[in-house]
């Protein structure tokens, strides 16, 4: 009767638990807001209103979510193969560089073609940047966490060099490239919808959101429906067993990490090809790192990652609105709230597990009796 069941039903495990964790995080954030002398419920209202209250807000929420889907998937693909890819940030930067080069190469002559090449370029450059750490891990045993972190710094320095040097906007002072040629960009949703006669407020939400959803579907298919996905998961669970079963672990490692890098690299599609239409020095803004939290909150399942990414989209967009509307809530406090959500939902997912399990055990026991 009172025994705590070891395993909760999937619904409780994957829906209720994250929800409760987020509630706890919001409660603690509310205490902080209350301590600042503001009404926490009003603040929460502003946050939700800012994220979903009107069409433009919804657009922004999903626009941010797109970044997190890409980086979250990137972390999760590597994780299934047993590796921690901390280099999403650098791979995204290189992806941005790849798409920028593609757009400048073809944009003037064939804008539409350049967009397709840009998508491939983003993925290729991201994968290429992940290849070196992957090879070092697979063939030389260098720890992937160290090498990918180091590659973030190299990527950032490389981008800074290019953007104050050869790629800098002529006459410009900031580290940013020239504007992309006309027509070389992903259509934004309000444009697509206007094409079908539906009016939607202008927002930066663009076609890369669909690309991100397709990527999530592809990752799901790869992991659970293909032989390679199976090999990846086996290698991730137990490399020796996989090797014994005939899986080439180094090969799986390299390919998985390159796919991870390609996903991270495609983040640039959303930021650069969808909205900014120029390469900006630090456009990645830590999204690569947030991807780690997104992947863990989504339990490394593509669907979970999409949901977690939307949650982070809400926090980013709603948080920015909150900072706009409440002067005492500074940008730093928004980071605190995001940090609390990561802490409770990402890093301490089992905090409420025992009480919930006990409660469930009692209910389940009563049902059986």
């Amino acid at each position: 009767m009172s025994a705590v069941p070891a395993k909760l039903p999937t619904v409780l495990e994957s829906l209720l638990m994250p929800f409760l964790n987020i509630l706890v995080a919001l409660f603690v954030s509310g205490l902080v807001v209350w301590g600042l002398g503001e009404d926490p419920f009003f603040a929460l209202g502003l946050l939700i209103e800012g994220a979903f209250g009107y069409e433009e807000a919804i657009g922004y929420t999903f626009y941010y979510a797109t970044n997190f889907i890409f980086t979250g998937l990137a972390v999760s693909v590597a994780f299934h193969a047993g590796h921690f890819n901390i280099g999403g940030e650098g791979q995204a930067m290189l992806g941005g560089l790849g798409l920028t080069l593609a757009v400048f190469w073809l944009g003037d002559t064939a804008p539409l073609l350049s967009v397709f090449v840009a998508v491939a370029g983003a993925a290729l450059f991201g994968a290429g940047w992940a290849f070196v750490p992957a090879w070092l891990q697979a063939r030389r045993g260098s720890h992937i966490v160290i090498t990918t972190i180091m590659f973030n710094f190299i990527a950032s320095a490389l981008l800074a060099y290019l953007l104050v040097g050869p790629l800098q906007r002529p006459g410009g002072q900031m580290p940013e490239s020239s504007d992309f040629p006309d027509g070389a960009g992903l259509m934004q949703f309000h444009e697509v919808l206007a094409y079908f006669g539906v009016s939607f407020e202008q927002s930066p939400l663009n076609l890369s959101f669909l690309i991100a959803l397709l990527a999530a579907l592809a990752v799901w298919f790869l992991l659970s429906r293909t032989r390679f996905g199976y090999e990846m998961r086996v290698a991730g669970k137990n490399a020796s067993a996989a090797a014994f079963a005939g899986v080439s672990v180094p090969r799986v490692t390299i390919i998985a990490l390159m796919m991870s890098g390609a996903l991270a690299g495609m983040m640039g599609l959303n930021e650069l090809l969808g909205e900014q239409l120029r390469l900006i020095g630090n456009f990645t803004l830590g999204y690569g790192f947030v991807g780690i939290a997104v992947a863990f909150m989504g339990r490394n399942h593509p669907l979970g990652i999409v949901l977690a990414a939307i949650l982070f989209g809400v926090l980013y967009q709603g948080g920015a609105e909150l900072a706009f509307e409440m002067p005492t809530v500074t940008r730093d406090l928004i980071v605190v709230i995001q940090g609390l959500v990561i802490l409770f939902a990402g890093a301490m997912p089992h905090l409420l597990r025992r009480p919930v399990a006990a409660l469930y055990g009692r209910f389940a026991g009563r049902g059986a009796a």
Partner: protein, 333 residues
Amino acid sequence: MKYLFVRVVALLVLASTPSTLAFAQDFKPVLLYDIGGKFDKSFNEAAFRGAEKFATESGIDFRDFEPNSETQYEQALKRFARRKADLIVAVGVGYSVAVRNVAEQYPNVKFTVIDAIIDLPNVQSITFKENEGSFLVGMAAAMATKSGKVGFIGGMDIPLIRRFQVGYVQGAQFVRDDLDFIENYVGTTPSAWNDPIKASEMAKSQYARGVDVIFSAAGPSGLGVINAAKDSGALAIGVDSNQNHVQPGFVLTSMLKRVDLAVSQAMQQANAGTWKSGHQVLGLPEGGVDYAMDEHNATLITAEMRERLEDARAKIIAGEITVDDVDGGNSGH
């Protein structure tokens, strides 16, 4: 437990209902800082003081926002433009592309951009002759140095900051022509504005090489230079805001760039209906740049030095001294 849960959900739903958050007054000015942040004791804080001055004089409140990154510039501008702010003041050369894009999209909103020049019918561009103010603090540095070595630490290496450097060197050489100059830049990306630790290390290295006065044109990074001056028992020159008070006795003077003046004027003009688009330059004659004198540096700047500085100021205003400039100091697109 279950009821508690229901109550929490009900509260959440209730809390999310208040929706319309309208501006209370008719005239709605907005101030957007650059990534240095509001209280940087320098450039952005000067802008904030200007807006506050307008607010206290007119009784009209203003909205402000600190972006986290350059990518948020455009989002912040669009957000306020869409809410029909009457005037959006964006400070910093980093805003040039973002203001251009948004101003084209919202031709009915007024934009004032500081440090960048954008040629659109609804944009007012205000730039400063930083080289003229830097000339004067360069003179002060040359008169104060005992070692004959003076230093310069710039924030981000861009033409705008080169302009400070050019004026500073020319002013110092105007006083004596046997000086050694040591010049460093904190970095090449916007993060160079926010790196007081690196700036402090550069300053310490300069002081160790015999420099005894450093002019830091580096925004918040400059605070590192001023603290290094105290640690080394030498002198620093502040920038943008009056920074003499940061380490009294170790700050020779500050090159004032009256961003506060530009911001409060733009807001007043927009409120009174006299706001005009186009380009304005604020130099010494307009009081847009100056050197700071207060009780903290009264003993550092002697009456004799003061006299020479005032003399040079008059000559610059009269056109007898021409201060050099650099190309493209305010271009950004």
